[in-house]
């Protein structure tokens, strides 16, 4: 586990989101500190995905504020989120099976070069940069020219993670990255997330998996039916504490809620 910073990279305050009469988020706060791995935990329908989609601009909040490094921002779409240094690895990975690894990593963002006065896709640079990210940064052996359909489940996840690095983000959000994988592949993906974090990338990890929470995260924020239950330091709680928080939707008196702590320090 890495040393957690004390400044907030992301701060969401009082986020509300309604879909018709359904309240998806009811005034939720979320803080992600620079350099940490923050877990986001909750049952189906707890609002984790909605919160993430609100952060990256897929949804617009009905109320609430978002700050990046202390500055208030309005992110209106995922492309804008990438400009703010936020990349997302979706649960369905969003890979095109019939294209190569490098084509997927640079989908809609192909490096171009001039050739005889025409702007053409620079495959050479694309494959080199893909190779650089995969081999040097993630320490993996995947041929960037191989078609994605030829890869295993773990490798596909790795390619999706590699793609999130193309825009050189400060924060990578991962939505259930290991839920569809075998135990062995899941372990490798977890190593990958740790590698990412060791490089100084902040990670927001949505997960169901309790082992993953304790193996990776510095802190964890728990949601329940659109309400914030609380944020706790992972090494100060037990599995049972977290389960209890998820089930009851309340903070046990014995545990310190660290939501808002960072602000107080600053």
């Amino acid at each position: 586990m890495s040393e957690s910073g004390t400044t907030n990279l992301i701060e969401m305050r009082g986020i509300e989101k309604h879909f018709g009469r359904v309240v998806a988020l009811n005034g939720v706060d979320l803080e992600v500190r620079e350099g940490e791995i923050m877990g986001l935990l909750g049952d189906n329908g707890s609002g984790k995905s909605t919160l993430i989609k609100t952060l990256v601009g897929v949804h617009q909040p009905d109320a609430g504020e978002v700050f990046i490094r202390g500055e208030q921002v309005h992110i209106s779409n995922p492309k804008e989120a990438r400009k703010y240094g936020i990349s997302t690895v979706y649960q369905d990975l969003a890979l095109v099976d019939t294209l190569s690894v490098s084509a997927n990593m640079f989908l809609a963002r192909n490096p171009m070069k001039r050739y005889a006065g025409i702007s053409v896709v620079d495959w050479e640079t694309m494959n080199e940069q893909a190779e650089e990210i995969i081999r040097s940064r993630l320490n993996l052996e995947i041929d960037p020219t191989a078609r994605v359909e030829f890869l295993s489940g773990g490798e596909r996840q790795a390619v999706a993670i590699a793609r999130s690095l193309v825009t050189d983000p400060d924060l990578v959000i991962m939505d259930e990255p290991t839920s569809a994988l075998s135990a062995d592949s899941a372990r490798r993906v977890r190593d990958l997330i740790q590698t990412l974090n060791d490089e100084g990338i902040t990670v927001l990890l949505i997960t169901h998996n309790m082992d993953e929470v304790f193996a990776l995260t510095d802190r964890v924020t728990i949601l329940d039916s659109g309400d914030l239950v609380g944020t706790v330091d992972t090494d100060r709680v037990t599995k049972e504490d977290i389960v209890q928080m998820m089930v009851s939707g309340e903070m046990p008196a014995s545990i310190q809620d660290t939501t808002g702590d960072t602000e107080a320090h600053a």
Binding site: T98, L99, E141, A146, S182
Partner: protein
Amino acid sequence: MSIRDRDWADVLDRTSGESTKWLLWGLDNMIWPIVIVTFAVFAVLMPEVFTSASNIQFMLYSSAGLGALVLAESLCLLSGNFDLSIGSIAGFSAMVTALFLNTWFPSTPGLVGVVLVLAIGGAIGFVNGVSIGYFGINPFLQTLAFFIIFRGAVFLLSTITVAPLPESYLFIGGALVGDLPLIGEAGSIWLIDSIPIAVLLIVGLYAATWFVMNYRRIGLAIMAVGGDENAAEEAGIPRERVLLIVFTTSGVLSGLAGLLYTGYLSAAPPGLAEGDLFPAFAGAVIGGISLTGGRGDIENAFGGMFLLTMIQVGLVQVGVGGDAIQFINGLVLLLAIYLYTTEAKIRHRLLST
């Protein structure tokens, strides 16, 4: 543990294993050995077919119009769609332009006709693209409706063949390289002189499309939309605009097919390109363009088109009646489908062992 989720070590062997890579490459491009073998069989068994220059010329001529339609259908298939209206667009745009030049405004220069025939095709394709891309109309229903509407419209416009037409309008579809002013005067060798201009144009178009599909942003976007619509959209590719471009291009190419057929026939018959829809599909599929989108290469579609024309022309030349052509087309298509299904199985086995 699923088949997709094996140990990484053996995946590493597979993805970097040279022999497997070459084998897959061979399977992807198997149309070419088939083209060569078919050619050899014809050349040996029926030498008269491919030894006569006029036969070859006839083959090239008849492949030009169909070639444009195979290209149109290939683009639609690669984008994960298909276009049933290509033959009808070719017939309609050719007929309207022919009437324009022959009956409505008789002294119009032929070049205006060239622009008109492509513009009509493009405009119809544009409407297809708006309906399918932006309004989400099912491509089968949209293009089926246009297939029927524009074929019917041709017969409303004229039930007889429209001729004569200006020489300059017929030039692209009917002239030979030797007819070009500069080359003709230079008195170049007969072989090049007797190649139809339409054929050079089609070869050039396939080359240009190959380039676009592999090296231009829009080409990669088409392959991405065809491969996985949702993934492409999540990456920020504007699916609607891509489909609009694909169907408009398909329309322009169909208009071009109308122009080439008209030039070759020196007239615009109401039945122009009438039976060409399924041969166009067949050419694309025989060339390995997948019906499910995102998979296939333009150069192989060219091979598929070439194979289909070669078989057709070869059979006509040795006296198999024109009536049998549809039947033979169907057989070739069926064979191709079996072949590609087998290929998919071989590929799967290669990847899972």
